[in-house]
Structures are given as structure tokens and as C-alpha cells.
Subunit: 727 residues, 2 copies
């Protein structure tokens, strides 16, 4: 049954994209439900004739308490949007070449399988492989999940030949549990493992024009190229190429490119040492596009197959960012389009590269997800910004013009935008950090406001209430409630050669820079950025220095945990599902910790390096109340909680449960009731600790008594002073 | 279907108990199968008329790969033994007062329930409660198991009134999974948890003479008195008394005794601060029997309800050891019998206490499990020794005489005993350690033999190939293969006041003695005992100093891991399922580690204490090859493995799997195929590293290549020198 809904009316057409949505008399404030139901765009595809497009969003559904995938079709002329399908999962939506149809991997209840989506929305199976394997945070899962429920997966990846006659695809088979003994590395890998791992094999098939399947290869569980990287499939010269990963007896991984002539169907090794970048962007000269250099301008370069480089000029953006749109090359190979992210006030756009000087498409808003017709003459993108809810826009490549077609989030269009000001802060160490101030609605100059810093690495950019940045910290609702919200990125590693070298030392786990310098220039410098950004607003009379909080998950939790055990500025914090930097993770992250700390915590020479920055060893230095929201009971986070409580510092660790006893919530929360509660817990926590407010209707009202006890027993209050780099 | 088997013939009757089994021309050497199938005695009960007895053993069954429980009946006149029932579990076998029948908790496939066993062996239900809860090392288990497969349990405990008219019993109900958030201590408890815990409630019922059940109380999951301690049920003055444990809001536990008048069935608190010893032995004056004092003789004391003490004299044994038989009081209250364990050459016997001077029953062999008629005039015991397989013996209490009735392990009676010599060693620190030398069969004086020390706390005593002591180190088979095997207890804590004070400091987690003294006097002193015991045999020309190994599980793994990182005497080791003393367990064992090390490993003042004894911090000090056999991938053991390998010391960690993906092998292995393999792995390991022998038929032959590599890369060989207490 296909439900038809009108998601947007003609009134919405033609709104200038550079502007936030126009306020109308019907506009309203943010609600908790708005925060929960911001759609996550997953995949989209324009029709071959360019007249329509299909796209998929994931949206929290409160009734089923599941995050559901919704397939919609939009008519690009009228903007009329229909909902075609709701399912547990929809991904990898693509045109089927030579037809007016699409294909996608869909879980309609039989696991993730490959389906055809006709131009009228009818969904029929292409490959259904009932012997699935699970991706998820659950007992027996083959591989972990990042932000979805345990997902039984039959078809893992697929690719159509350019003429649509051939189909390359991978199906998974969970291996039955093998009650074998395990030795050495196989045991060590379970050291910190919460759920029993499952295993699977992947079988790679080629389906020909006659509909017959040929098994090309069955790949082992350790082939992460096949299980994760989708194998980089390409079609050329009557062959299909794809990558597999071999692991030798000593555990060394090697990616190989296989080639299969369509005529024979017999695979051979085409390249036994394939090197792959994180993202492959094809250029118009058969090479690979990258942005090179540091600072605020980057060279756009195409590295040709012979190793020579074609320079396209210097631009204030970088291609190759995983959050930007991918790359496209026209059927004739002469036009390439690549997604970029700007360096300052980060937003996303497109660069068109032909013979002539590259041209940019995009403006003040971001173009994140895009697709184009085969000739790359027409396309669609999702446009959004901090204040503009996502919308489908059409792109005319030749003219570089865009046209708003339809809303992706009609309910959110009705929200009156909050004043959201992009900022670049320069801290005491001359480090630049980008981000936003989200001003409280009805901000009154001269009055001092409470403030909350929200941080997650570099994800504060022109996207709409993005979960990767805000997690379950409801930034907009906090602003509605009277907080000045600062979305602050950590200082970008590429801003100068020196910081780049520090980050390279960390990421590549070298000893190029000494541990203390790595600490000082990354996490302790993060703290300086947050403090100095807040100080600016304190000095300007905007923020009340005694009512400042901080929140961050994952990479952000590192920043928060360090800030809270170094600084006296933050009276309350919420730290989400992270524990990196704590001694407990040393055995799992030896190389990384050796870079950051110079050795294990039990090495007398390294221990002082831990004592100066590992949060759980600095419980006595903390003054603010810390909430640790967890998807998993990480030992490292439990240690931080225990250290804070041992020092009588107010702290709570809250574990959000999975679907059932045998599964966990994921790092990016996917269970709507958990998301709601986590947001409510954050509101209750900051309101209580920063404002002294209680809400008897909060689902966390029964925690106040515990918090009262902790408040009474706390050894000190934060005095607002800034951190001093420790000896 | 009840199979009848003749387990022993009349030829076995009347063999003197003080002697090992007589060697006959049909006797043979130990086999691997013998090691596997030594029966474990669980429970036994004499019939009311004293003419027969029933008992239960657990035996590894290779066909089903399960350890099965076998209920046997033995006619005390003829010794004729019949097998009445095989089941997954049989425990708590007791007479039903006033009848000729028994009752027992049995898992016949519907979980553990309460059954009646008629005098003819017919088994019929008494209480069947289908809503079970699981005890086991498995996902969702309510409580952990020690040595059995995940066991769904309907009836947890029961007690008959002395007249058999009333039945008190506890049934369990697993709680459905509650997808609730968890906070603070509930999260911290999952820090190191491998399997998702389940929860259950316990309901306590009283069944009256009319067959009607009355619910006395439903107890929460945290009431470990009800879930574990079996509630110490007693019947007196028309009331039934039982213990429950209350846990207050701050986590403090308090045991309370409840009393229920049979007439009303209404519970009341009889004692809100019940204090319980580890084992309650009733005396003939209504008090509690204990052994007091230190050294080689102990005072046998009855502490009366008014607090006064009745002294029965000094004896070379102690009552109250958990491994000895429990206590019995005659129906008239005038005679008490308590099990004891001797101080020197530890073995088990009985002491009969009446008005007159206590009398001892028992000789050179051990009487471990006993039961008596209500008048305590006749009884049965299981008798065994290091060289005598267990047998049922009858006891005439008045005369103190014993008579061998039937074998419990007929197959093992056919083994020609190995020469097994009890020894007491005094080490360089004047500490006494008891134990045994098991001599190789056909030992030739003047020839030097390889040797293996096997240690597990204080479990080397007069029991037959006891799994608690030997675990999966096949001591007897190793002796058959030409090793001198030393079963060595750690020095007994009660040998003098000073050592007692050290052990009290450790066990009670006080700071009465400084950490270094605790280390020196416990684990480093263990090492001295092992070294000095071996040295004696080296000096006597018996043992080859270059071919000495050591093995121990659990408490023994502590001794082994310390010995291997302090001493240069042991060329190979097998350490089983332990990791105590490693830094990784600090957060789970804070109080204990604070006593042993003086603080966490990240405390600069405590770190030197870790560096001097934590095995994983002394990988570079190790010279011998270490095998770590695990039922669980303990982080602590993985760390030791990693530290050894990082120092290029030969090491292997082997994880023995559970029944399925969602369960683990238990600390005491219960899966026969794992037990066999673990023994074979130990044989292969010691043969390879100590003797340089390979066996291409070993199931571990495929590991030799790996071991060859490690041997080639090892930085040093053990030079046979003794440990020096570190600075």
C-alpha cells in the first residue's frame, strides 16, 4: 500500500536559497518533537529523464519507537511529493540504467534485500537472499552498527553495469556458531567486547542479461573491503572491477583489485596492491581529484594515472570531505562534479570541472546530497542550513542555477528560525575555531544569559539541527529556553602546518611530536577555545559566568571530559558515549595512547602524562556536575564516573538500553524513546545545575533527590577561572 | 526407565580402608579417560531404616559431551548398587521424614524441580514451577555458575519439617527483560560484565499437611541469602525460621531471621540482625561448634546461646571447613557429629561429641560426604584418598567402626595406585606447606626426572584426583608419562599468628599490614615454597633443574603468574582462568587491591608496589613459556598474555568455548570435550617446552609451528635460579 501525501505546496516554491526560511505569522517555536523528528537524508536519485527524483529519509517514529526509512518521490516540475514506502531500512537508491526504474536495498521485513522500484512506485524483488547476517550492536552481530537497530542483511552491496544489462552484487551468509577454541589474537580481541561476535561470509555474484547468476567469489569475514567498503566497483572495457581485501598469516591487510571479463565470468587479479583513498573523486582527465595544502585556500588538483598533476587553481574549499556530496563524471567523461566543504563558516557546495576554469554551484546554504543525470546536465540536491530545514532543489549545471522544489521537512518549515550567527573565534594560542552562536529567542541586550557550549569535532556547519553535531543535546530547544548556545568546532587541524603536524602525529600514531605537545595542542587547546569563546560573551555582558555548561558526545566527550577536569568555567556538563583518553582503554588503543601519553599508564615515565590530562585521574580537579550518557557501559566512562564520585564531585552515569537484553543502543542513538529521554535528561540536568530549576513533570524528576544530595556534598563550586596548562 | 548396573561385586567388600586399593594382576595405568571420568560426589542420604542409601555423582559423559548427574541406590547389606536416574542435575537429596522416601532437586528437562524418590526408585513431582530462572555463565542468567551448564531453576531450595508434614520451599521467577534506563551503581556493575544479566524474584512457600501452599514472601533479586545461602531454615517450637537479606537504599546488606508459626502462617521478624558463619555446626548443648586457635592443634569449642563457651579439648584438626562433611545433631539433641579436616597431611574425618570426651571416626583416608539416621546411630560416608577411588562406607557411630560397602568409581578401582607421598615442606622463610609427591610409575633412583608443581590454594589433600585441586592438569597421567608431580598447598595461614594476621589483612581488606609485607608473605612466599620444594628434589638428584614446570588455576593462577615473573626455575607453566593481581581488575576489586598494592596503579605512590609483583607488569622478567587456559577472556589475563608477547616471552592464551554463542565455559570446566582438550593441551605444552617432545597425534599438533617460532624468538632461557624478593 502506497500512501500519498502532499508534503509541500506551491507556496513553498522559489524561495531564495541564500535566505533562511521566511518567517510568517504561522511560525512557531521549536519543540522537543521537532528536535526528535529532524529527517536524516540517506540517499537520493534523479530519474533518467530528469523529471522526477526519489529520495530516502530516516525519521524517528514515536508510535513504533523505531527510526523508520521513508522513500519519497518528488515531481520536479510541480514539487508534488508522494510517500512511496516506509520500511525498517532503505539505502543505496540508484537508477537502473536503460530503464525509468530505480533500485535500492530495502528491509521490508525479510532483511535487507535488493528491490526494483518502478516509475509508479511499485516495489518488486531483484535479489532476495534469506540467509542474512546481522549488522548491529547485538549478540551475534557480524559487524557493529553506528546508528541503527540490528539489521539482518541479505544483500550488502550492488552495482549496475552502465548499460543496465549486468548486475554485480554481494550477499551475506551468517556462519553457524562454531564452538571452536580460540587462541591469542582471537582471544585478545574479546578483551573489551560486550557482545559475542558472529561471523559471516560474503558471496559475490554477477547476474547477466539472461538473468543467470554466476558466483565470482566467496569472501571470508575478515575482508572488510567487501563487508564495509562496498568494493569500489567499476565497469570498463567489457570487464567489471572490484576490490577485495586479503589478510595474510601475520595479519597484514592488502587490498587487491579483481577484474572479471563479462564474456568469461572468470575473475583474475588486476592489481595486487590497490591503494584507495578515503573517498575517490574522479576528475575529467581520468584522474583523482583532491584538495591540497593548508590554511584558508586549497589547491584543487587532479592526479592523473601517470602520477602527474593537473592544477585547477586555489579555492576557499576542500573536496573529498566525507560529509560533502560525492563525485560524478559525465558519461562522455568530459565533465566532473565534486562536492566540497568550505574552510571558513563550513558549508557544502559543488564544483564543476571541465576544460575551463572550475565553477562553483551553491551559496549560503549547504548542498549535501546530490545526484545528476548521466550527462551531468541536470541534477537534484538537498539544500539546508543551520536555520533552513532540508529541501529538494534542482540544479541546472550549465547555468549553475538552483531552484527550490519541495520541502523535505514540512513540519520544520513552520518553525521561526532562531538567530544563528556564524563565528570564528581565535583563542589565546592563536588557534581559530569556527562555529555558531544560537541566540535565545527574544534575546534582550544587557541581560546576562546562561550559556551552553556544544561541541563535536568539526561537525558544526551549515546543516539543520544535525545529529552528528548536536547528538541528543537539543541546541535549538535550549535556545528557546533561554540559553545562549555556542556550537563550537575544535580548531581545524589544517589551519596551519604546525597544527597539521600535531594532528598527523596523533592520527598516524607516530612519535613525531612529544606526548605533552600533542596534549597541549589538541585537547588542552580545545579547552582554551571553549573558554575564550565563552569569555568573549561574558566580557560583552551577554553570558553569566556562573551559569555556563558544556556538552559533547564521542570526539566531543574527549573535549568535555578534559575541559571539566582542567577548567573552572563550566558548572555542568553532559558527556556522551565516549571514554577515549582514559587509562582503561590503553590495551585496546595502544598505538594511539603511546602517542598521546608516551606509554602505558603503568610506565612510571608515562604516568605523569596521564596524570596531567586523563580525566578519570583528575576527579579532584573537577568542580562542575557531570552527566555521562552512555549507549554502552564503557569501562573508561565508568572509571571517570567513579573518580568523580570518589572526589564527591556531582556526577551521574546513565545507560540507555538497547531493543532487548541482547542488544545495545548505538553510538548515534536510534531508539526514539531513548533520544527523547536523553534530550529531556540534558534539559533537566542543565536546568538543575546551572539555573537551579526543577520541573516536576520531567521524566527525570525522581533524580532530583539524588542530585540534591550530591550538591550538598560537593567539595567546591566552580569559580569561573580558566584552565592553566598543567606541568 | 531405570537401568540397573552392578557397580561393585562382593570381592570388593571389606577392604581395609587405611590402605590404598590392593594391586592385583588386572590393574592398569591411568588413562586420559580416567582423569576425565573421576566422579564428583554431590549429595547423599541414608534411608530412614539405615538399610540402604542413595547418592548422586556427576560424571563427564563423552557421548553427549555433558556432565551428567547420576542417582544411585546402594543396598548397605550387599553393596549392590543400582543406577536409578540420569539427569542434567540432581542435588539436595534428603529423606522425607516419616516416610521411606527421598526428595531431591532434579532437572529432568523441565528445569530444576522438586521430586519424590520412592524407596523403589520411582520419581514423581512434588513441586514443579515452570517459570524458571537461570543459574549459569550465559546471557540472561540470573546468577553465575561455578561449574555447570546454564541451569534453569524452578525450585531453588527446600526443607522438610522434622515430622515431614510441612514443606518450606523457594521457587524462582525470571523477570521479563525490563528495558529501563540504568544509573550509577547499576551501570558500574556492568563495567566488566561479559554477559547481559537477568533478574528474578524468589517466592517462599509453606506447604501444609493438607497439601495447600501458602506464599510467605516474594524476595527481590538482591536477597542473596535466599538466592544463594539457602536461607538457613530451621524448625522449632511450632515455627519455621529462615533468613532473608535486606538491602537498604545505601546498599548496606542486613540478614534477618524470619519466623512463621505453622498455626498462622504469618511471618514476623525474629531477629533483625542475624549473624551467620560460613558454616553452622550445631553442638550437643544447643550452641555452635568451632575450632579456635592457630598452629597444629586447635581447641574444639561450642559457643552456647548465652555466649559462654564449652571447651572439648585440643585436636589436630579443625571443624567448619567447607570441604568437610557438615554437622548433624541427633533427634534428642544429645549427640552431635561434625566433619573435620586435619591440619597436617590434610584429610577429612568425623568427630562425635556427646557428654563424654569427643571421639574421632576416620583414619588415613578421608570421609567427605556423610549422612546419618535421625538418631545418629548409623551413617554412610564417601571414603577416598589420593590413591583410593571413592567408595561408600557405612559407619557404626557407637563403635566408631567403618565398613566398605561399594565402590563409587569401579573403573578407577582397576588403576594401580601411583606412589603418592604426603609431604610437609618448610621453606627459606620457615613457612610450612603441605602436599604430595606423586612419583612416576617405575621411578628409577639415580635418574633425574622432569617435574611439575600443581597448586591450588589449600586443596591438595586426601581426595581422589580432585578437580578443585588439579583442575585440568592431569597429575596422575603426567606421573604415568614420567613427570615427578608435586601437589603443593600454599603455606596455611593458620600455621602461626603472624601469617594469620597477614591473611586477615588480605581477606578483610584492611591496612593492618603494609602492602609490601602482604605481597612478601603471601605470593612471594608461595613462590619460595614451590622453589624450595623443587630444590629439595633437585638436591636429592631426583629432579632435573632444567625441566621444571608449574600449573595452577584460580588461586593457583595467582601463585603461578607470580612465580613465573619472579623465579627463573620454571621453564613452562600453565595458568588457568585467573587474573587477580593484574592492574586491569583494580576497579572491580578496589578494596582488595588497596590492601595488596596500596592504591590504584595510577597512584604514583602505589605504582612501585604493582611493578614489583603484578605479573603483567613483569613480562620482561619471565623466562618460561606460559599457557593461559581460559573460560572467559578476562582483560587481566589478556594483559598478561600481551605483556609476555611484547617481551617476546613464549605465551599462549587459549579460550575454551561455552555451549553456544551466548554462554561460556565455567571456572570449573563442565564441558567434557573442553576438559579433555585442556588436559591434552597441558600435556602437549609441558612435553614440548620441558621435554622438547612432539606428538603428531595431539589435537594441538597444529600449534607446534607457532611454538617453534616463539621458542626461536625468546630472549632468554630459564637458568634455574631462585627468586629474590624485589625492592
Amino acid at each position: 500500500m502506497i500512501r500519498t501525501i502532499l508534503l509541500t505546496g506551491s507556496a513553498m516554491l522559489g524561495i531564495a536559497l541564500a535566505l533562511p526560511s521566511v518567517a510568517t505569522e504561522r511560525q512557531r517555536a521549536w519543540t522537543l518533537d521537532d528536535q526528535l523528528t529532524v529527517p536524516e537524508i540517506r540517499t537520493l536519485a534523479i530519474a533518467a529523464d530528469g523529471k522526477g527524483a526519489a529520495y530516502v529519509v530516516r525519521i524517528a517514529d514515536r508510535t513504533s519507537d523505531k527510526t523508520v526509512a521513508v522513500l519519497r518521490h518528488v515531481d520536479l516540475a510541480s514539487g508534488k511529493t508522494r510517500e512511496w514506502l516506509r520500511a525498517a531500512w532503505i539505502e543505496d537508491l540508484r537508477r537502473i540504467p536503460g530503464t525509468a526504474d530505480w533500485s535500492a536495498r530495502i528491509d521490508k521485513g525479510e532483511g535487507v534485500q535488493l528491490y526494483r522500484i518502478a516509475a509508479n512506485g511499485a516495489v518488486t524483488p531483484i535479489v532476495v537472499h534469506p540467509e542474512t547476517a546481522i549488522y548491529g550492536d547485538s549478540e551475534g552481530a557480524t559487524y557493529l552498527a553506528y546508528g541503527h537497530a540490528p539489521l539482518p542483511t541479505g544483500v550488502r552491496s550492488y552495482s549496475w553495469s552502465p548499460d543496465g544489462q549486468w548486475l554485480w552484487y554481494v550477499v551475506l551468509d551468517a556462519e553457524p556458531y562454531d564452538r571452536r577454541m580460540r587462541y591469542d589474537a582471537d582471544v585478545a580481541s574479546e578483551r573489551a567486547q560486550r557482545r559475542s561476535p558472529g561471523r559471516a561470509t560474503a558471496s559475490i555474484f554477477l547476474r547477466g542479461p539472461n538473468g543467470k547468476d554466476r558466483l565470482l567469489s566467496t569472501r571470508p569475514h575478515g575482508d572488510i573491503s567487501t563487508f564495509f567498503d562496498r568494493s569500489f566497483v567499476s565497469w570498463r572495457n567489457g570487464e567489471v572491477n572490484y576490490d577485495v581485501m586479503e589478510v595474510d598469516a601475520d595479519g597484514r591487510q592488502q587490498t587487491m583489485t579483481m577484474a572479471v571479463p563479462l564474456a568469461t565470468g572468470v575473475p583474475r587479479v588486476a592489481d595486487d596492491k590497490a591503494t584507495r583513498g578515503y573517498w575517490r573523486l574522479a576528475g575529467p582527465r581520468g584522474g583523482r581529484l583532491t584538495s591540497e595544502g593548508i590554511g584558508s585556500m586549497r589547491d584543487l588538483v587532479e592526479t592523473l594515472p601517470d602520477g602527474s598533476k593537473q592544477h585547477y587553481g586555489r579555492f576557499p574549499f576542500a573536496v573529498g570531505d566525507g560529509r560533502a556530496s560525492g563525485g560524478f563524471v559525465s558519461a562522455d567523461g568530459k565533465r566532473a562534479i565534486a562536492g566540497f566543504r568550505t574552510i571558513e563558516n563550513p558549508r557544502f557546495g559543488l564544483v564543476v570541472i571541465e576544460k575551463a576554469k572550475p565553477r562553483v554551484i551553491g551559496g549560503a546554504s549547504s548542498l549535501n546530497h546530490c545526484d545528476f543525470t548521466a550527462a551531468l546536465d541536470r541534477g537534484i540536491c538537498i539544500a539546508q542550513s543551520q536555520t533552513m530545514a532540508p529541501a529538494v532543489v534542482s540544479i541546472d549545471v550549465a547555468s549553475g542555477t538552483m531552484r527550490r522544489i519541495a520541502s523535505v521537512a514540512p513540519a520544520h518549515d513552520g518553525i521561526a528560525p532562531l538567530r544563528t550567527e556564524p563565528r570564528t573565534w581565535v583563542n589565546r594560542n592563536d588557534s581559530k575555531a569556527t562555529g555558531y552562536i544560537v541566540w535565545p529567542r527574544g534575546y534582550t541586550k544587557g541581560k546576562r544569559y546562561p550559556a551552553i557550549v556544544i561541541t563535536h569535532g568539526t561537525d558544526a556547519d551549515e546543516r539543520f539541527a544535525n545529529q552528528e553535531n548536536q547528538w541528543e543535546y537539543p541546541a535549538q530547544l535550549l535556545a528557546e529556553r533561554g540559553y545562549v548556545v555556542l556550537l563550537i568546532n575544535v580548531p581545524a587541524s589544517t589551519q596551519n602546518a604546525d597544527l597539521k603536524a600535531i594532528y598527523d602525529t596523533w592520527v598516524n600514531e607516530t612519535k613525531d611530536r612529544p606526548p605533552r605537545e600533542v596534549q597541549d595542542r589538541i585537547w588542552l587547546n580545545d579547552t582554551a577555545s571553549f573558554e575564550d569563546a565563552v569569555s568573549e560573551l561574558i566580557d560583552a555582558g551577554v553570558v553569566d559566568p556562573m551559569r555556563v555548561g558544556i556538552a559533547g558526545f564521542s570526539r566531543g566527550s574527549q573535549s568535555v571530559n578534559v575541559a571539566m577536569t582542567q577548567s573552572q568555567m563550566f558548572g555542568a556538563a553532559s558527556s556522551g558515549d565516549g571514554g577515549y583518553l582514559e587509562p582503561a582503554f590503553y590495551p585496546s588503543l595502544t598505538g594511539s595512547y603511546d602517542t598521546v601519553y608516551g606509554g602505558p599508564p603503568t610506565d612510571p615515565a608515562a604516568l605523569p602524562n596521564y596524570l596531567r590530562m586523563a580525566p578519570s585521574l583528575r576527579g579532584k580537579e573537577a568542580c562542575g556536575a557531570m552527566l555521562l550518557q552512555m549507549a554502552n557501559p564503557y569501562p573508561a566512562s565508568v572509571d571517570l564516573y567513579a573518580a568523580l564520585r570518589a572526589a564527591k564531585v556531582a556526577a551521574q552515569i546513565s545507560l540507555y538500553p538497547g531493543e532487548d537484553m541482547a542488544s545495545d543502543e548505538t553510538h548515534i542513538f536510534h531508539i526514539p524513546s531513548n533520544r527523547l529521554k536523553a534530550m529531556q535528561e540534558n534539559i533537566a540536568w542543565f536546568d538543575y545545575w546551572l539555573l537551579g530549576k526543577r520541573d516536576s513533570d520531567s521524566p527525570f524528576a525522581d533524580r532530583y533527590a539524588e542530585w540534591d544530595k550530591m550538591r550538598g556534598a560537593a567539595p567546591r563550586r566552580c569559580d569561573g577561572s580558566k584552565s592553566v596548562v598543567p606541568d
